[in-house]
Symmetry: C2
């Protein structure tokens, strides 16, 4: 009975199909024909299949219905909150274009190296394929991370690195360890929208620091430290999300000096590191892992289908984080996944892939910026690397209205205020230059801008 | 420079080794010899390598030291708390035997089907290998779960199932949604030790219900409902951990009736389902997903190296859980991993593997029970399936003392009180019958029992 139900569920048997013969199925499953006959009889009694005299059993018309349900598309009437972009981007039908999403198209990823790694893994040791692995995560991958830190001049040891199931889970674990409801946390304004969603789940008070072309506004940072005694500051290193800006060495140094004076811990999200053509100054590069905690993942440049992140931090915090990860996830990322990531990182092809990716992205940034400017959409900064362009819409148009109009035509955009704690980024929008190749994007964007423009004019006339 | 540091980190270059020639490395990396020469000069300036006139470059003695650090073994002096068994079992040197751990040896797992699935995946579509996937998790795997629920007679739809990164994370997400600090939660006494660790992280009050051969003590359940107004009850279906007992149909029915009267939600952890020779009555089988939430994973019978769990629950709860999973992990399990699990589940070899596994475990249960009885260690019940034997030690010996003595001889045991909220299981111990083949286990257990016995006698003489 289960075997037939599985076939109905995975659509290998559809409504009206003839079922395998009793003798044939009995032979292939290694059971007696009477067992199959009884199962068919019971399924027929349930109305899942029907018997046709002299001809065999057939799938009943209504049988397949409750099981083969496909996912509904995401609700489009949902409020445009920090979850809006995530859920629209992740769950949209594959034919929907997503210039608002935060990842590269599949054909920009190192698929050849991924396939090599998977084939290698299929020949791997039994225990690698079946065991939980150790509590800190696959040693080979932690060693590679350590080598990267050494390259930055950071002195640390292997027991300061913990693998996690994602960059987001890395941040979540640290927040669970260090935050209590009601604590004050600083973020950039704008910042990655999911920082806001995550911090809301932790019931903390979030304060945004205006983000400038050289990093967070230092005067605002100093004021916030004095006034609010925040427990944490969470920011991006290398390339800021959504602006693509890079903090300068002076900003990094002054942030750390102020953090020390006020005994503040800083979480540096290094997720975009591999998009940098040349490494930029980083908080941990100056501080080590003293008051800086670094988190990151491999989703952006290797694969988002391999969920794996990491935390590098003080040894005593890592010990506590291991217990917390056991309690809440039993172990870390899939050892199979961490092994594939390690294999791709040491695959000769990956370095070349990365170099080609930098060039391809630089080209896409230039081209997208030009096309946006032609529509009156102005990049706030030209990033050194990565896929984001943070842009101001013409004449202060409301980007949420533009995003809603585009969504009605199957294009997911990322309106500015999902990134903003102060809700002051309504005139901004984040574009993913790697997801803008489809001409449909530009036709829809042009129309959506015009629609929003019209509404603004109507409102002005009305007032 | 990075390339050499990576080789030092992953031990492909060790202290004293000769580095590749400048020309050779330049050719293989596709850069000019002068680039390599400059990198070598800088590494030499840092003291990582040294140049030997006329002979090339060599790894300096001290260079490799900070990078090639291996993990330290877990601390053995750690308190025997709910984390003790997890960390000793997961992090122990591979040569250490683990009759206390909660998983099967690698050669008991369906490795042939796993290898087939990985090879198939290496030929999969680009987006499967690189994308986040949708927020509910791989459709193919959810459909298989749904087919299994249908087999139990549970009517539900695909939007009532959410994939998670593990069974533990499934439980954690549900607790984050439904619990607030200070809430009361019922568990079995004894219960899976990590339930206790997880609930501690949620800062709730945990009340244990004595577990009987037919399921939780119903009188204690009714009293607890009346006195404490608990928010949740968390239990195992099919095969209880650690006792291996199965709740009867009467118990399941009465639990649900009482739960309804007191508006209690029950989480049913179905992780051991595939170990059952015949399916037993389950809470969701009677209730559907009304007040029962089912969680589970594939770690025990498919692979623990493929981190993937699930939640089946009310539709509105699943919607909230999706947001919570995005906020705290961005997406669910690796799509690559969920795909491998789905392929193994539909692999013809898996069904046969499962049947053979049931026989092998039945044999191991019998044999282990006999050997334990010969040492005066008495199984509390003979489970219908699975790998656990919950046993009473002779003459009320303290199982923590026995576990510590065994640990000193490199054998990880699972003492009863790590499973017990009331700390009344000191005379019990959980044995994993699949991990008891090594004769060393039996020699050490015999000595550890004798050591604990001696201590008890000495204490009696002293008092």
């Amino acid at each position: 009975m289960a075997a037939i139900r599985v076939r109905l569920a995975n659509r290998s048997l559809a409504s009206g199909d003839r079922l395998p013969s009793i003798r044939g199925l009995a032979a292939s499953m290694g059971v007696s024909p009477s067992t199959i006959a009884e199962a068919y009889d019971r399924l027929a009694a349930e109305g899942v299949i029907r018997s046709q005299r002299g001809s065999g059993f057939y799938v009943a018309r209504r049988a397949a219905a409750p099981l083969v349900l496909a996912d509904a598309e995401p609700r489009r009437d949902r409020a445009v909150d920090p979850f809006w972009v995530s859920r629209q981007s992740l769950d949209a039908d594959p034919r929907i274009t997503r210039p608002g999403c935060g990842w590269l198209p599949a054909d920009w990823m190192p698929t050849a190296a991924l396939r090599r790694a998977l084939r290698g893994l299929a020949r791997g040791a039994d225990d690698l394929l079946t065991d939980y692995g150790n509590t800190r995560g696959t040693l080979a991958l932690r060693r590679l991370l350590l080598a990267g830190f050494a390259e930055e001049g950071i002195v640390c040891t292997i027991d300061q690195v913990l693998l996690t199931t994602s960059g987001t889970q890395a941040l979540d674990l640290v927040c669970r360890l260090l935050l209590r409801p009601g604590d004050i946390v600083l973020v950039d304004d704008p910042c990655y929208f999911n920082f806001r969603a995550l911090l809301r789940a932790h019931q903390v008070t979030v304060i945004g620091l205006p983000y400038t072309q050289t990093g967070p506004d230092l005067a605002a940072f100093e004021t916030a430290l004095g006034q609010h005694r925040p427990r944490l500051y969470i920011t991006n290193s290398a390339l800021h999300n959504p602006t693509g800006a890079t903090p300068t060495l002076q900003t990094v140094h002054r942030l750390l000096t102020l953090a020390k004076t006020h005994d503040l811990t800083i979480i540096e999200d290094d997720i975009f590191a591999d998009f940098e053509p040349e490494p930029s100054p980083r908080l941990a590069g100056l501080d080590g892992f003293d008051r800086v905690i670094r988190i990151g993942s491999f989703s952006k440049t290797i694969s988002a289908s391999l969920r794996c992140g990491y935390i590098a931090a003080r040894r005593d915090w890592i010990e506590d984080l291991i217990d917390l990860q056991i309690a809440t996830n039993f172990s870390g990322p899939s050892p199979v996944v961490a092994e594939v990531v390690a294999r791709v990182l040491t695959d000769g092809g990956y370095r070349k892939h990365k170099q080609a990716l930098h060039l391809r992205l630089a080209h896409a940034r230039q081209e997208t910026a030009e096309r946006l400017r032609a529509l009156g959409v102005e990049p706030w900064a030209m990033p050194r690397g990565g896929f984001t362009l943070w842009c101001r819409l013409p004449d202060g148009l409301d980007s949420t209205a533009v995003a809603k109009a585009a969504m009605a035509e199957d294009v997911v955009l990322a309106p500015g205020n999902v990134f903003s704690t102060s809700q002051t980024a309504g005139a901004f929008m984040r574009f993913n230059v790697a997801q803008c190749a489809d001409p449909h994007v530009w036709a829809v964007l042009r129309r959506a801008l015009a629609t929003a423009q019209q509404k603004t004019v109507q409102q002005e006339h009305a007032s």
